[in-house]
Amino acid sequence: MPVIEVTHLKKRYGDLVAVDDVSLTVEAGEIFGVLGPNGAGKTTTVECVAGLRVPDGGGVSVLGLDPRRDAAQLRQRVGVQLQESQLPDRLRVAEALELYASFYRNPADPAALIDKLGLGEKRNTAYKKLSGGQKQRLSIALALVGNPEIAILDELTTGLDPQARRDTWGLIEQVRDSGVTIVLVTHFMEEAERLCDRIAVIDRGRVVALDTPTGLVSAVAPEQRVRFRPSAPVDDRLLTDLPEVSDVRRTGGQVVVTGTGDLLHAVTSVLARHQIVAADLRLEQSTLDDAFVELTGHRPVD
């Protein structure tokens, strides 16, 4: 059952078309990724979903409600982390969370949330004295403190160090496991690959692909390569006869087999049948990075 439905969304800022035509649906309980180069319209799209911006065209429905007309209801049920928003300098961590918790009918326990996000030692620290990553974690906590049904997180882990990033991923998975639907705007391929059930790739205000991470990769760059050093001479025909294989080359003592599908299994079984041992066996697959470049013509920032 979709909890978010966006149909032909359009949004302009003056002459600039920020979102041209975006349609997508987010299913209950999934982690939905929104990926795309800078300025692609990701933030604008999710802010229309969050009811912070009024679309110029198209429709948005969240939990069956209209983000503008039913704003009061949705604010209780949707938690939002904005890409660029800060807190007053002198506000302390615990104060911020307790204040935000007080706005909701069924808030999470602020103290527990503070510990969960690793801010326990900083509970009485003023916002201005927090590091970038700590501010980011506080911001995530504020999005979750209302016990939302949907959490919209724009640039979840930007500014976090690798360890904090992994910790945050763990937290997001926990949140999802508790039944929350998550919309995640991100620049990090690894993050999208690890966390997202499905990903919409947005470029210049349009959805250019929407699939699971593996689906995206295999649709855009399905080629895989298997390299190995055979223990005995191999007849090329042995390999080219396999339906998975599209090409066989030799470089030095190495055989490089290119193909699709379950290439690795096909190659190793045929070698095993002929009692050939494959040394230095290596599988090279396209990654989400490759798919992203292919789809948008941009290198992902990392």
């Binding site: 969050a50 604010r75 949707v78 904005l82 928003s85 007053p88 506000l91 706005f103």
Partner: protein, 244 residues
């Protein structure tokens, strides 16, 4: 309403936490009063001031100090900063309305202004025998309308300025003008008559404060002008204010 109370509680706490600013806002007028009051000649009756002494005559202008600092400076700057840093926007994603934060800012600003005025009046009375306002009702009215006019101007600044820098660029000259026409930089008897008369009509309306404090009662026209400024600037601010 519940959210507003929580926000107000936090905003009050943040206000108290910024001690240097708080002391300046609440204490500066009284400090100047004390310094001037310690000079004996300024406590002598003077025909320049209808036979009152200078300290009595100058006290209303000291009220202007806090009104100007808070009304057209700290309050609009705080709002502009909140907007620029996305604090208001973030609040808009929660069940609380960012308007609650704006209202809380107004309440703490009022509280600071009131505290400063009370301190000035009480210290003036106890230490230097400055009489309490002759016309309490008129004084309260002049004070409330003058404060409302200045706060409304401050809100207008916060509304039209898109950035903190722009707010500063508007707030500083407005502050200087308020102080000048309020007779803070130069006591009003030293100002050319025309300038002093303009000062009667610029917020917070120092002549009405003086009339109500030492004289008979404030002139209705002075009060009416303050009310008009408050309503006009307030309506303009409400129309132009942007949460982001």
């Amino acid at each position: 309403m519940h959210a507003f109370r929580q926000i107000l509680r936090i905003e009050a706490r943040l206000y108290l936490r910024d001690l240097p600013t708080l002391l300046t806002i609440v204490g500066l007028p009284t400090m100047i009063l004390v310094v001037l009051g310690l000079i004996p000649s300024l406590r002598e009756p003077d025909p320049n001031f209808d036979g009152q002494n200078f300290v009595n005559y100058f006290a209303p202008s000291l009220l202007v100090v806090t009104l100007a600092m808070v009304g057209v400076n700290t309050m609009p700057m705080a709002l502009a900063t909140y907007r620029e840093r996305g604090v208001l926007r973030r609040l808009a994603t929660t069940p609380a309305h960012p308007g609650a934060l704006l209202a809380a800012q107004l309440v703490v600003a009022l509280a600071a202004i009131l505290a400063s005025a009370l301190l000035l009046i009480i210290v003036g009375r106890l230490a230097f025998g400055v009489p309490l306002p002759e016309h309490p009702l008129g004084f309260a009215l002049a004070f409330v309308l003058g404060t409302a006019a200045l706060l409304a101007l401050g809100l207008l600044v916060a509304a039209v300025a898109r950035t903190t820098k722009a707010a500063q660029a508007l707030a500083v000259p407005l502050f200087l003008l308020t102080m000048f026409f309020g007779g803070v930089y130069l006591p009003r008897f030293l100002l050319p008559d025309a300038v002093a008369r303009i000062g009667d009509y610029t917020p917070p309306g120092v002549q009405a404060l003086l009339d109500a404090w030492t004289g008979p009662s404030p002139q209705p026209l002075h009060l009416a002008i303050m009310a008009v400024i408050a309503v006009t600037a307030g309506a303009g601010a409400a129309k132009l204010f942007r949460w982001e």
